[in-house]
């Protein structure tokens, strides 16, 4: 039941540099949305700050362009208030893994059903090309006055260590392949990471389309590759994680893209809340009535006395 691509386009001009990998990510998202027939009004794209975080303006769906590093907690509030929404986070590597690393770790601990799309270009694009947390030690992209002296963070490894239950990597210029990954990530129930290798044509003269050409290979084409935890035994989880981790460390002449790890057995945060509070799964807190027609509160004096009975003393004069 696919819908038309046009449904997901806005008339806002994309002011990214011509050739930027971000165009490919938007295209893949739009195609994925169309194939999943997402309702734009029930879909929310939440972003941080950076070139990549301009994404929501170019897609016809609700867009919430937030603060540098804070897309995940904004998205968390939106999703928890109304779990029936499809919530997607777009952010840069600086955004999600630099200033936002704490939230990245925390969302993994919750397994909230959102998809995080990481625009991994190894630089801080919008502030003119400083080293981002995915640039490796001693590399020197062109705006740097001296080589980078921090080590790179490995998004795949960090996501797994943090508890993400779907962890994948795509390439911005392989739009159809990326689209499939995004679709799988959205369909997955739980926190999903899609790490997208995204050439920044203006500032990243190391990790260019040329660099990636010939180096990328698809995990799904590796014989016997199966990233999914099927039985959910501790042993299986450990084994799948170990294999994913091994692949995560690969870089250089051969760079894997595809799905690294999926564990569909972990309860989502929303399910956990519903376990404690059954009403939650029927009626999102964002949609519950709180007042009568006349504006009187739902909790009137009688309800108040019942809810807070143990705080109330009936005065008994003697």
């Amino acid at each position: 039941m696919a819908s038309s691509l046009a449904r997901y386009k806005t008339d806002v001009w994309s002011d990214w540099c011509p050739g930027c990998g971000d165009f490919g990510i938007v295209a893949a998202m739009q195609k994925a949305f169309a194939e999943l027939d997402l309702d734009p009004a029930q879909t929310v794209i939440v972003s941080g700050i950076g070139c990549s975080s301009k994404t929501p303006h170019f897609i016809n769906a609700n867009g919430v362009h937030t603060l540098h590093g804070r897309a995940i907690p904004f998205a968390t509030g939106i999703k928890l208030a109304n779990p029936s929404l499809t919530v997607i986070v777009n952010g840069g590597d600086g955004d999600l893994l630099g200033i936002g690393a704490g939230h990245f770790v925390a969302v993994g601990r919750r397994n909230i059903d959102i998809t995080v799309i990481l625009h991994n270009n190894q630089v801080y694009g919008l502030t003119k090309g400083q080293a981002s947390p995915t640039l490796r030690r001693w590399e020197q992209v062109k705006s740097l006055p001296r080589p980078n002296i921090q080590d790179a963070v490995n998004p795949i490894a960090l996501a797994i260590a943090s508890g993400f239950t779907f962890v994948a990597r795509g390439y911005a210029l392989w739009v159809d392949h990326l689209k499939e990954i995004i679709k799988a990530a959205i369909k997955h129930r739980g926190t999903a990471l899609v790490d997208v290798l995204q050439p920044c044509v203006t500032y990243n003269n190391l990790y260019t389309a040329d660099f990636y050409k010939g180096r990328l290979y698809k995990l799904e084409e590796e014989p016997g590759w199966d990233p999914v935890v099927h039985e959910n035994s501790i042993e299986e989880v450990e084994e799948k994680i170990a294999r994913a981790w091994d692949k995560a460390l690969e870089w250089g002449n051969r760079i894997p893209v595809g799905v690294f790890y999926v564990n569909p057995h972990v309860e989502t945060f929303e399910d956990r809340i519903a376990k404690l509070n059954p009403l939650y799964s029927e009626s999102p807190v964002a949609r519950q009535p709180i007042a009568g027609e006349d504006g009187r509160p739902l909790v009137g004096v009688e309800e108040f006395k019942k809810i807070f009975g143990k705080y109330i003393v009936e005065v008994e004069r003697k």
């Binding site: 700050i49 208030a81 939650y280 709180i290 007042a291 509160p297 739902l298 009137g300 309800e303």
Partner: protein
């Protein structure tokens, strides 16, 4: 000591007395000195505290040492004779400065170093009536009867105290039993033992001393009294006001509100859920405010509660809410600053910060509550304002109010309305101009309403898309700021500032928990021949400039006194900024302890009659 206070408060409320009790404690879990300071009234709900106390009950030696000078001449003291020989120099938990100061005060007063030295000083020099109880002996009896271990019996130390106090106050045993049942509801054995022990003590005390502190017949007109802390009361206001999402990161003294809400997450009435509140513990305060804003965008009434260090981290997202006309309430419990400061002590030193927090300019509402009743309605109003004006609302409280326990009459539902302004839970399908410029307050479809909207922290157009066009910039900037003018014209002045009394001898200007002490001080001073007034400030933006300006015109500068829990006289600065009136007389306190009525009275006299310009209060350990 908390247990004693709770049981006594229930017993007193049961009989229709008004009670307030302040809890003073260190930023520490076990082992440092903490105490409860109560005030009981038969005539009205007390809202302030004062010294000296008429009745003191101490569980340990450190308390005796610390509070020796807090007991009034001719008052009553209950203590454990088992600690009589303990020396002040042997209390490791006592801070060295406190010990040194006390020791020198003792020297001056001719007091020795042991508890019995202190007790005999009180008895002889201050005619305090002493009730020494051998706790060990009492508890040994209990142990035998109920077959308790030593540790189990120790938990009944506080029973001895509240029972002895109840005896002296002439409380009937039924009311005390009621207090015990309430406190230990569902724990039958504990209730039984407490009842047994307390009735025994009450009888002993009564037999020996009568009821020397018998309270007069209560005249407070209330059939029900809520017993709750300020934290609880704000939580109750939020529940009534329709809160649906509360995020928080633990912090003193705010966390108790969230724990309270967590315990009431499913709003169950007769076993059926009216709704539910999602209480969400986040990884930090940045996530707390961000998720609360997110929940608000999705249509849930949302809030977060915090204190200074937490609010400091929320500042960036506060501006995002302002820029995106997103409703969110921040319930802000002030504690002693700066930095970690005095985490468990009170202050009012964050007002100016909240008024200007975050870079750039955007409208916000800042209101502050002065007593539990205000706190309850303000909690509701804050959420109404946030949605009606589509902006962040900061609701200021102070630790004094938050952690004190009050007896409060039931609020009046007539005054309560839920106002969601132009919130649209359902909207026409399709792209929607979320920031329609045709009016300052635009219709606000929530995420999932059917509308498609964009939001951006960047300056944006009517659709929420980024634009740097200078003309749009001016229009959007002014649209947002204009909402403050609208709020100014709509929110009644009576809810923003109020003048109590009309005497011209002096005008106290204060806010927050100062209210209780100020109102009582007015009365005391009137009896002493000074007729004054108290200007209570409740909303700092939009500021009730005209009203405040008018009130101030009635007074010479030398008779207007700022009374605040800070060093900068922050509210007075807000007054100056808005009215041009420079306050030049100050009564300030910044030890972290509340302003007590008697020291306030004294300070006003020193200023008005003694020509002093500034008094820094310092009573209380």
């Amino acid at each position: 000591m908390e247990t004693s206070g709770q049981i006594l408060t229930s017993a007193l409320a049961r009989r229709g007395y008004g009670v307030v009790s302040d809890r003073e404690y260190y930023s520490n879990i076990v082992g440092r000195h903490s105490y409860v300071h109560m005030r009981v009234s038969a005539r009205r709900i007390p809202l302030s505290l004062t010294y000296p106390v008429q009745l003191a009950g101490f569980l340990d030696a450190e308390s005796v040492f610390t509070h020796v000078f807090d007991i009034g001449d001719g008052g009553w003291l209950i203590y454990d004779t088992g600690v009589s020989r303990t020396r002040i120099t042997r209390i490791p938990s006592m801070e060295p400065q406190v010990r040194d100061r006390l020791l020198s005060a003792y020297r001056e007063a001719g007091i020795g170093e042991t508890v019995s030295d202190v007790v005999s000083y009180l008895e002889k020099e201050r005619s305090v009536n002493i009730i020494g109880i051998d706790f060990k002996q009492v508890l040994d009896g209990l142990r035998k009867r109920y077959n308790l271990t030593l540790g189990q019996a120790q938990r009944f130390r506080s029973t001895i105290i509240f029972a002895a106090m109840a005896g002296l106050l002439g409380l009937d045993p039924d009311s005390v039993d009621y207090g015990i049942e309430r406190r230990f509801a569902g724990r039958a054995k504990i209730v039984e033992m407490n009842k047994f022990l307390s009735s025994m003590i009450i009888e002993d005390v009564r037999r020996e001393y009568g009821s020397p502190l018998k309270l007069s017949t209560p005249t407070i007109d209330a059939r029900e009294l809520i017993i709750a802390t300020g934290n609880d009361i704000v939580g109750m206001g939020k529940v009534v006001g329709g809160l649906r999402f509360q995020s928080y990161y633990p912090i003193t003294p705010a966390a108790d509100e969230s724990t309270f809400l967590e315990a009431h997450e499913s709003l169950s009435v007769d076993g059926e859920a009216l709704g539910n509140i999602l209480v969400f513990q986040t990884e930090d305060e940045i996530a707390a405010i961000a998720s609360a804003i997110g929940a608000g965008l999705a249509g849930a009434r949302s809030a977060t509660a915090t204190s200074g260090p937490g609010f400091s981290l929320m500042v960036e997202a506060l501006g995002w809410a302002g820029m995106n006309e997103a409703p969110v309430v921040i319930t802000y419990y002030q504690r002693g600053g700066p930095s970690t400061g005095q985490p468990t002590r009170g202050s009012q030193s964050d007002l100016l910060f909240t008024l200007y927090a975050s870079h750039g300019e955007f409208p916000r509402i800042v209101l502050a509550s002065g007593d539990p009743e205000e706190a309850f309605y303000d909690a509701i109003n804050a959420m109404n304002y946030a949605e009606r004006y589509q902006l962040p609302v900061i609701h200021l409280l102070d630790k004094f109010l938050a952690n004190s326990t009050f007896t409060v009459p039931l609020p009046s539902w007539d005054r309560i309305r839920i106002d969601r302004g132009k919130t649209l839970l359902e909207a026409p399908r399709g792209v929607f101009k979320r920031f329609d410029k045709s009016e300052p307050i635009s219709p606000r479809p929530v995420l999932g309403s059917g509308a498609i909207t964009w939001h951006a922290g960047d300056e944006h157009d009517e659709y929420g898309h980024i634009t740097e066009d200078p003309v749009n910039r001016i229009e959007m900037y002014e649209k947002r700021m204009k909402k403050l003018e609208i709020a100014d014209s709509e929110i009644p002045v009576e809810e923003r500032a109020r003048l109590y009394g009309g005497g011209k001898d002096f005008l106290l200007v204060g806010w927050g928990f100062v209210k209780g002490a100020a109102l009582e001080a007015l009365e005391v001073l009137r009896d002493r021949g000074l007729e004054g007034a108290y200007l209570h400030l409740r909303m700092f933006t939009p500021f009730p400039t005209r009203f405040v300006g008018e009130v101030l015109k009635g007074y010479d500068a030398g008779r207007v006194i700022a009374v605040e829990h800070n060093i900068m006289a922050q509210a007075a600065r807000v007054v100056a900024q808005n009215t041009g009136f420079l306050v030049t007389r100050y009564i300030l306190k910044y030890t972290g302890r509340p302003i007590y009525t008697m020291e306030l009275v004294d300070a006003v006299e020193r200023i008005i009659e003694g020509g002093v310009e500034k008094v820094v209060l310092r009573y209380g350990e």
